[in-house]
């Protein structure tokens, strides 16, 4: 059963579209990571936009399944990794 935890964007990460790339620019950041930038693929950018409103993993999973015609297991795994990594870097917060 999926958690009821809601994920929300950290406003200290700014989403930018540069050329055809979707990137997250941290505006408050640890010194060690100042030389880094985060890039999102199509699904990552879709999820970020979807997270304009806080959402649970189940809600995000439902949105992804509507948007993408791909293997269910792969989509779910990718979503889980997205949430873990985005939370780890601080771009998403658990509400």
């Amino acid at each position: 059963m999926l958690s009821e935890t809601r994920y929300e964007r950290n406003p200290d990460f700014i989403y930018r579209k540069i050329v055809d790339e979707s990137v997250l620019v941290p505006i408050h950041h640890d010194v060690a990571d100042m030389d880094c930038i985060y890039t999102l693929n199509g699904m990552g950018a879709f999820l970020w936009e979807r997270l304009a409103q806080p959402a649970t993993q189940a809600e995000l999973e439902a949105a992804v399944l509507v948007e993408y015609d791909a293997d269910l297991e792969v989509l779910v795994t990718d979503l889980e990794k997205f949430l873990v990594e985005m939370t780890t870097i601080g771009a998403l917060r658990k509400g």
């Binding site: 930018r16 579209k17 100042m34 880094c36 890039t39 990794k81 873990v84 990594e85």
Partner: protein, 361 residues
């Protein structure tokens, strides 16, 4: 990071990939934004500085809201890297507001400053939302030389304090110098100063005439021999010239187009009144961003890239292009047109080519 939807990349690596993807297509990825022409120092060589109290210069500057409006448009157009420069940016009482606004938009900001007006409060603010880089200019390694250049008593101590404030907060900081006849002898000491603090240091020895046409900076210019000696004393610099010479060997880089450099391809310049030009030194033509949108002005700048040479000059057949600093900016500054060669640069390129040839033979 093992995640197909998210990747963490080094900025330099990512930028290189992005530029490769653009394959020469115009895109306003980075820019210089002069927030003021005014400066609290009176450096003898400066191409732009107006006195801090110059009311006319102050009145012509963009207002805070005008700057913000331009920043909004830059972000809309895709600009990621922006350098705030002057004059001295910290002379503007709204600098921190402008800086924070740019950061909130997701712009990666570099700041050029003399550091003399830095306060703990400003340094704290920078530490909270870090600039990509702060570059501080050193005008000398000693109080005597530094202030001989700046003309302001007490400026050396204030610069040292400013550097300390940045270092204490572990901000990304580089030092640089412009070499003049009156500070050249302190180059080793300036380099050592940077090394002692673990900071990168770069320098340049070419002086531009003032934007108002005054050639006074040339009174402090290094001789050709002194400029060449800088290369001799710096193996990395010499190796870079050798690499450039090999890369462009036999090519007449300035044969056809006025702009053979990268100006206006992925970069732009905005002056303190809001005029957009192709680069910092080639300021004509320029388009007023108070009257036209950035995107419209950027498109019009693109026409400059298509300009073909009209004058017959030695540059068209010259194959030393990679070793020569000649560009439309230099021609505009010295001769008031885009193409007339600047004799000093021509001589320097020929001497440099001869030196490179000696080194590789």
């Amino acid at each position: 990071m093992d995640c197909p939807t998210l990747d963490e990349l080094y900025l330099d690596e990512w930028s290189t990939g992005l530029l490769a993807k653009l394959r020469g297509r115009r895109y306003p990825l980075s820019g210089m934004f002069e927030l003021t022409d005014r400066c609290n120092l009176g450096c003898v060589h400066c191409y732009i500085n107006q006195p801090a109290t110059n009311q006319a210069a102050r009145d012509s500057e963009l207002t805070t809201s005008q700057v913000k409006k331009i920043l909004d448009q830059l972000v809309e157009a895709g600009c990621l890297f922006l350098t705030f420069t002057g004059g001295e940016v910290l002379l503007r009482s709204d600098f921190t507001e402008i800086y924070q606004y740019a950061r909130q938009l997701g712009i990666l900001v570099t700041i050029f400053t003399n550091a003399t007006l830095l306060t703990p409060r400003i340094a704290d603010l920078l530490a909270e939302s870090r600039p990509r880089l702060v570059e501080v200019t050193l005008y000398g390694a000693t109080r005597e030389t530094y202030e001989k250049v700046t003309g302001v008593a007490g400026s050396y101590d204030r610069c040292m304090r400013g550097i300390d404030l940045l270092v204490e907060r572990n901000l990304s900081l580089n030092l640089k110098s412009i070499l003049l006849s009156i500070n050249l002898h302190e180059l080793p000491a300036m380099r050592a100063f940077a090394e002692q603090r673990g900071l990168d240091f770069r320098y340049d020895g070419l002086l531009w005439p003032r934007l108002d046409g005054c050639a006074k900076p040339f009174d402090y210019r290094l001789s050709l021999q002194e400029l060449l000696a800088l290369d001799d004393g710096n193996p990395e610099r010499q190796a870079e010239w050798e690499r450039i010479a090999a890369s462009y060997s036999g090519q007449a880089l300035r044969a056809e187009y006025v702009f053979s450099c990268g100006a206006g391809l992925q970069s732009f310049h905005i002056d303190s009144t809001g005029k957009l030009s192709i680069c910092t030194m080639a300021r004509h033509p320029a388009y007023d961003l108070n009257r036209t949108t950035f995107n419209e002005a950027w498109e019009r700048l693109g026409d400059l890239r298509k300009l073909k040479r009209e004058k017959t000059t030695i540059c068209q057949t010259c194959t030393l292009g990679g070793l020569c600093s000649q560009c439309p900016g230099w021609s505009q500054s010295v001769h008031g047109d885009n193409e007339t060669p600047v004799e000093f640069l021509c001589e320097l390129a020929h001497f440099r080519a001869a030196r490179v040839k000696e080194c590789i033979m």
